[in-house]
Amino acid sequence: MKVTIEERMDVEGFLFKEARYADESRYSDWESLVDDDMHYWIPLAGNQAEGELQVSILNDNRPRLATRIRQLNTGVRHAQLPVSRMCRTVSNIEIEKMEDGSFHVLTNTVLFEERTQTAAGLSVSWPARVEYKLRYKDGELKMFLKKVMLLNSEGPLRGIGFLL
């Protein structure tokens, strides 16, 4: 189905807001963008199928994601003390509108991270192809899939205590 210019603006606005909340470690604000059937997923292999008996780097259903955010909000999650300084660049946004009115979105995203928890001066970049599924709920876009396909998913990977 054809994506209208207004819809494209909505989707892009959503992606930039999601990136900003993640950049600024605003965990609960980020969680407010998530729908009840959210799947937040960082697969280990590019061709990994959903549900197979293969380990993922991260594989949160909605309750697991709530736990993750609860843990971050305790204020004693050492992995993010202090929080990483982060800057996400979201580009190459392709939007497909599905029959049910939801949006299937692909982006190229690069996260630049200054890791502040251990030694000064350790910067890491996290390039990824990111897949989103979004839908309107009560007039607002919510995401029900965020699948981050890291270029270096098979590692070695440094700690990912933040919301990627």
Partner: protein, 417 residues
């Protein structure tokens, strides 16, 4: 072999303290590569990773790239991953299946045991090719599916290296009603900016849990509440030194019902509990279902992390890899293995509710130990160690009994001829 040791292991590793230079000195890493990773036994892979003929997995053992491959006769060889001709890597992918191993540089071909079978344009060579096979690890032994290897022809048998700690592997394997593990779920490679020895030490350190993992304790109700997060007086779990550098945190005394270790009610997986009792008998099967899997380090590079298997891999003096895979079980429903995989994703690795915090603390410690450094204390709980009914040195969960065991054995290995 027979190299001159350049570091004062005797003076800098003592019964109650260890000097920080063992974590920061390049000479120590150089010695470890020979004394531990070439002369001794190291964990290589699990049989379930290479079930079929021609199946292989790549590994890095110390400084040597190798691959483990199953030949048509079912035997497993561990082979140095460099062509006998000009040294190019033979197996490029992390894992795969090969009928023959062909070097992509000049086309030399080997069979699945590493024997040279074909050389392109042979008229150009005058040499005798019988000695031009790939270099195989001279010693490879399997214990209940766990494949270990050594580069040392004269290494004592694996049974001697494992000693009593083979019982820990037994306990892991016997979480399956069919005594089969499946480690084919993939390995997550977590890079940590610390010396590799901090990983085996931390993985069997029962003292840090409530301080490094308060966010976990606050956010999640789990079996760890009773196992490792009680007050000093109420803690029932124990730390154990199995000899040979093998160490354990033993949670079973804190568990009083079946499947508590699995973080669920005892009637959650009736087919599994029934199969366990059918396989081992009601009494023993029931005991296994209460006791749960081991939380134990097999020296030097294997961690039986409850329902995870972990490998430690040094990268440099200040960096290492902590690799994990879920310990899936044979003879159980998919829903049991799914839970194992999901729990592994929750606790372990770069995003883990637990390991992401451990790795930051380890990195801070590593940074603090640079320069002059100083002494690290190992004395906690020496006055209250005892020998348990099974003959294993045991102490309070939070005591440094595992650290002392690690360093006692490490020192003897590093000083060995």
């Amino acid at each position: 072999m027979g190299q001159v040791l350049r570091f004062d292991y005797d003076g800098l590793i003592q019964e109650t303290r260890v000097h920080s230079s063992v974590y920061t000195d390049q000479r120590v890493l150089d010695d470890e590569m020979d004394q531990i990773f070439r002369k001794g036994w190291v964990f290589v892979c699990h049989a379930s990773e290479i079930p079929g003929s021609g199946d292989y997995v790549r590994r890095q053992l110390g400084r040597d790239p190798v691959f483990a491959i199953r030949a048509t006769d079912g035997t497993v060889s561990v082979i140095e991953n460099r062509c006998a001709h000009r040294g190019n890597i033979i197996c490029v992918e992390e894992k795969g299946t090969r009928k023959a191993l062909v070097c992509q540089y000049h086309g030399w071909a080997y069979d699945t045991k590493g024997t040279l079978i074909d050389v392109p344009h042979p008229e150009g060579f005058k040499a005798d090719f019988t000695c031009s096979s790939l270099k195989r690890m001279p010693k490879v032994e399997e214990y209940r599916g766990f494949i270990f290897g050594s580069f040392n022809d004269d290494v004592p048998p694996l049974s001697e290296h494992l000693g009593r700690a083979s019982e820990l592997i037994d306990r892991a394997v016997e979480m399956s009603p069919t005594q089969e593990l499946d480690l084919s779920g993939g390995w997550v490679k977590h890079l940590v900016g610390c010396n590799w020895k901090m990983m085996p030490e931390n993985d069997t350190d029962g003292y840090h849990v409530s301080f490094v993992h308060p966010s976990f304790a606050e956010a999640i109700r789990s079996n760890y509440d009773s196992a490792v997060l009680e007050s000093e007086e109420d803690t029932k779990s124990e730390s154990k030194a199995w000899g040979g550098g093998h160490t354990e945190l033993y949670f079973a005394p804190a568990y009083d019902r079946e499947l508590e270790w699995f973080g669920c009610k005892e009637d959650r997986y009736p087919a599994y509990t029934k199969a366990m009792k059918a396989a081992y008998g009601d009494k023993l099967g029931g005991e296994k279902l209460v006791e749960g899997p081991p939380h134990a380090v097999i020296f030097p590079n294997l961690f039986l992390g409850e329902m995870n298997i972990v490998m430690f891999q040094p990268v440099s003096v200040t960096e290492c890899l902590h690799l994990h895979t879920p310990m899936m079980l044979g003879g159980v429903d998919t829903e049991v293995n799914s839970r194992i995989v999901r729990q592994s994703e929750g606790a372990m690795g770069p995003t883990g509710f637990l390991l992401a915090d451990d790795s930051v603390i380890a990195e801070r410690t590593q940074n603090a130990l640079e320069g002059n450094g100083g002494w690290l204390d190992l004395a906690r709980g020496m006055h209250r160690e005892f020998v348990d009914d099974n003959g294993i040195t045991t102490s309070h969960l939070t005591d440094e009994t595992p650290n002392r065991e690690f360093w006692r054995h490490y020192k003897s290995v590093m000083l060995a001829e």
